[in-house]
Symmetry: C2
């Protein structure tokens, strides 16, 4: 065979095994998504996915521990990218701003398209809720790790609570922004829709940074930000 490519774009050598594994992995998720589109959530088995991906049932379970896990890889890759963006931010930047910036970088069609499709296809199905929650929680742990590095937590101090609560809240607000966006726009990936997503993410982080005090959340009828036009929903 020819020598390993000298024009490798990444440091690690992409061996044949790695490529094959990545290819089958992708084939599995593609097959799972296709079945999700055609048959709907919960109406197809692991054997069907494996069959459609051209592998055996046993091999499917070598890659994913369940059918849900195969679908959730979409969420995992998105959140993985988010964490990478977060780690790129300067360490001296406040965590909230870093989170906001990291989320901004992902509010483009390429990144959110698979996520949006998965969301719309499994919107009212409790089947995905499970693995989805796990994915978000996994992301929370990553944010926790990043935050802990920056805050330099003292072993027995009260910083533990600070970092835990901050990481969880950041995830919750990001989740909230996405939920609102999906409920408003569905799978709409137009530039205006994505702009709205970005604004929602900004607003959510701002709410968190302001301690949810930006508006008097008593029963007072006073409204905030008189929202120019667009009463149509």
């Amino acid at each position: 065979m020819t020598a390993p490519s000298s024009t490798a774009d990444t440091a690690t050598v992409p061996s044949r095994r790695e490529l094959n594994k990545a290819a089958t992995r992708q084939a599995i998720t593609d097959a799972a998504l296709a079945l999700l589109r055609t048959k709907g959530p919960g109406n197809f088995t692991a054997e069907e996915i494996a069959d459609s991906a051209g592998i055996s049932r046993r091999t499917f379970f070598n890659y994913f521990s369940s059918t849900d896990a195969a679908l959730a890889s979409v969420v995992h890759t998105f959140l993985h990218n988010a964490i990478q963006q977060l780690r790129l931010r300067p360490a001296e930047e406040p965590v909230l701003e870093s989170a906001q910036a990291a989320l901004m970088a992902l509010a483009d069609p390429k990144a959110v398209a698979p996520l949006a499709e998965l969301f719309t296809l499994t919107q009212h199905s409790p089947l995905m809720a499970n693995t989805e929650l796990q994915a978000w929680d996994h992301c929370r742990e990553q944010v926790f790790a990043v935050a802990r590095e920056r805050v330099a937590v003292t072993p027995g101090g009260e910083d533990e609570l600070y970092v835990h609560a901050l990481a969880g809240s950041v995830i919750s607000c990001g989740k909230a922004a996405m939920e609102v966006w999906f409920s408003r726009r569905g799978a709409d990936l137009s530039p205006e829709s994505l702009a709205e997503l970005r604004q929602l993410l900004i607003d959510a982080m701002a709410l968190l940074g302001a301690g949810f005090n930006s508006r008097s959340h008593t029963m007072g009828p006073e409204r905030y930000t008189p929202a120019p036009a667009s009463p149509a929903s």
Copy 2:
């Protein structure tokens, strides 16, 4: 038969069938907890639980959809009580204070003892993580419902985001406080330990109310400083 008790504390008549159902339900969770203690998480089957509870395997699945669900009933009852406490708070009270007060009411041995035991027994097991996340998320939905009632959300307005983000953050902070408490004190239910739990809950809500801006969260029930303007926009 004897007439329905006139001293019934609840409006609904506790018929024989209701009592039996409640008894078997309790027997199942007791059996599941006992097996969890003796065999450890993941090392017992649904049939064993049913056997130990004196019922058939099929009946077990009539009550719970999985072994995890049987264990998670502990978490559900705790969170159910928390929600009830939350609903008891006056509607004009800020949500953060209501949440704090509701959690205070549950920081007593009676309520947290089963939760603490379940936590310590399944601490490093991914088996419970699943249903536990679901339980928390279910609680989040309840908090969301309460918050939406109070905030009087306008259909197309930005209040959706506010309520979603607030409910999620409150849950995250409550979760964070409990996680820190468990990691510090384990299953310690002494008065000092519970006092620390209460303080952690207070601090967590204070952090949220202060927008994670003040790092001096060693204070007691002090008022937080009003949050400055939101980050650059």
